[in-house]
């Protein structure tokens, strides 16, 4: 039998891992918060830095400075918003969803959770979220998934993201697995993906706080698993809210040991 580590080393590492696992699976030490109430409140007077409406099927790009908050509000049903994100300072650092779900011991990203880059740093904090119904695993629509509906004008997220990347000076090499907001994809006990439509409703919204300067691409197309994926969705309101000081006990920064260490990595990178 091939081996190069001692039984003592293996036992010590196993014990350390099982302690991380126990804490991680408990969302410890803080209890997850309740979802944000629907509808979203009006932003404070003077707090909006930018607001735009993205038509159904279309995409947009924007830059967020550290601390700014991105509010996303679909204006009707049949909407899933695909998101891609890169560090503006170095676009080879980008959103990494495998790390995001693995580091937080959950595929259910919702209020209180964060989104990690491939460099062990936090890119986004989910500071408000009415649904908790987001998909990190199965991606957006593609030319093939929309072809079945027979409408050649139906747009798709894959092409939108290639276009959005181009307008940020990037290309398809730079696209990563996408976060699909307002897409209630879950895994059942047999390992099959299921669409839990009851998790989303009218007036859902989410707010993501940038934890570093970011370039962001958004695609407003239905999720391919949505039973109404052949429809053109409602417009998406995209609102950028000015940065405000973050209190030391901020939920996203303190909810888990993993998030705390991620933010410590952010601080180190900022020098």
């Amino acid at each position: 039998m091939y081996t190069h580590r001692t039984a003592e080393q293996i036992a010590a590492d196993r014990q350390r891992y099982e302690e991380h696992q126990r804490i991680g699976l408990e969302f410890s030490p803080k209890t997850p918060p309740n979802p944000s109430l629907r509808p979203a409140p009006e932003p404070d007077t003077g707090s909006v830095a930018m607001s735009r409406s993205v038509p159904g099927g279309w995409y947009t790009t924007l830059h967020l400075a550290k601390g700014e908050v991105l509010r996303l509000v679909p204006q009707g049903p049949v909407s899933a918003v695909a998101l891609a994100a890169w560090s503006s300072a170095d676009t080879t650092e980008r959103m990494n969803l495998p790390d995001t779900v693995k580091l937080q011991w959950t595929t259910e990203l919702k209020k209180g959770r964060v989104v990690f880059s491939d460099m062990g740093r936090v890119m986004l904090s989910i500071v408000e979220d009415s649904s908790g119904a987001h998909d990190a695993l199965t991606g957006g629509s593609t030319p093939a998934t929309v072809a079945q509906y027979g409408d050649p004008n139906l747009r798709n997220t894959r092409d939108n993201m290639v276009l959005a990347a181009a307008k940020l000076g990037l290309d398809r090499r730079d696209l990563m697995p996408l976060l699909n907001l307002f897409a209630p994809v879950r895994v059942d006990a047999k390992g099959q993906f299921v669409w839990r439509s009851g998790m989303i409703g009218d007036a859902d919204w989410v707010e993501l706080r940038a934890e570093m300067d970011l370039s962001v691409a958004l695609s407003n197309c239905p999720h391919p698993s949505d039973p109404r994926a052949g429809e053109v969705p409602a417009p998406l309101d995209v609102i950028k809210i000015k940065a405000v000081p973050v209190p030391p006990d901020d939920l996203c920064r303190t909810a888990t040991p993993e998030a705390q260490r991620g933010f410590e990595n952010n601080a180190k990178a900022e020098g």
Binding site: P98, K102, T107, Q192
Partner: protein, 198 residues
């Protein structure tokens, strides 16, 4: 013709699998995660897509019958045989940086799959930018109905293997995972074998 490649513990490997050939990835000693990415051999900008693969098959793990899909929605390989039963493609590869978040800052200077991928991809003119979410053959990452996700003890026995047929010419890039902070390698990384036939 049969080509055999013995890959030492903790090391990367890469090779071309031509359309119609099969590639067999063998977990020689059991419980060894084998991080794998495929690139279209004619155009490396078309590469493996975990999300496309999972959505197309409608289930969360790779096993016999799975079609390994590209970012352009094309079938790259088909899984013909799998003696282990279930492989992850949601949890990605380890890195020095993610290890600090998972296991503590003291793990920063430990070898990791991302280091292997960067060095191996460099031989083909690719960079960190080209690392995409990979397949973790023989890594056991159950996802619960409540979303909980954890790396559990591997379920592969010595000699377990997965066999795939290439449906296009592909570049296969492997990191024989060096992780010692979780059970994906039984806390003791081991050598593996790759066999290309046809």
């Amino acid at each position: 013709m049969e080509q055999k490649f013995d890959i030492p513990a903790q090391k990367p490997w890469s090779g071309i699998v031509k359309k119609g050939q099969t590639i067999r990835i063998e977990d020689t000693y059991g419980q060894q995660a084998i991080d794998t990415i495929f690139y279209c051999a004619d155009d490396y900008t078309e590469r493996y897509s975990s999300q496309e693969t999972l959505r197309a098959q409608g289930s969360a793990y790779i096993t016999t019958g799975s079609k390994v899909m590209s970012t352009e929605g094309r079938v790259m390989l088909t899984v013909l045989a799998d003696t282990s039963g279930r492989h992850d493609t949601s949890a990605g590869c380890c890195s020095c940086e993610s290890n600090t978040v998972r296991f503590g800052h003291e793990t920063l200077y430990q070898h990791a799959c991302r280091e292997n991928f960067i060095l191996e991809l460099g031989r083909y003119g690719m960079t960190k930018r080209d690392i995409v979410a990979n397949i973790n053959f023989f890594m056991n990452v159950p996802i619960s109905a409540n979303g909980a996700m954890t790396v559990d003890d591997g379920i592969s026995a010595p000699g377990d293997h997965v066999e795939m047929r290439a449906e296009m010419d592909v570049l296969c890039v492997i990191s024989n995972c060096p992780q010692i902070n979780n059970p994906c390698n039984g806390f003791d990384p081991t050598p593996i074998r790759v066999v290309i036939e046809g």
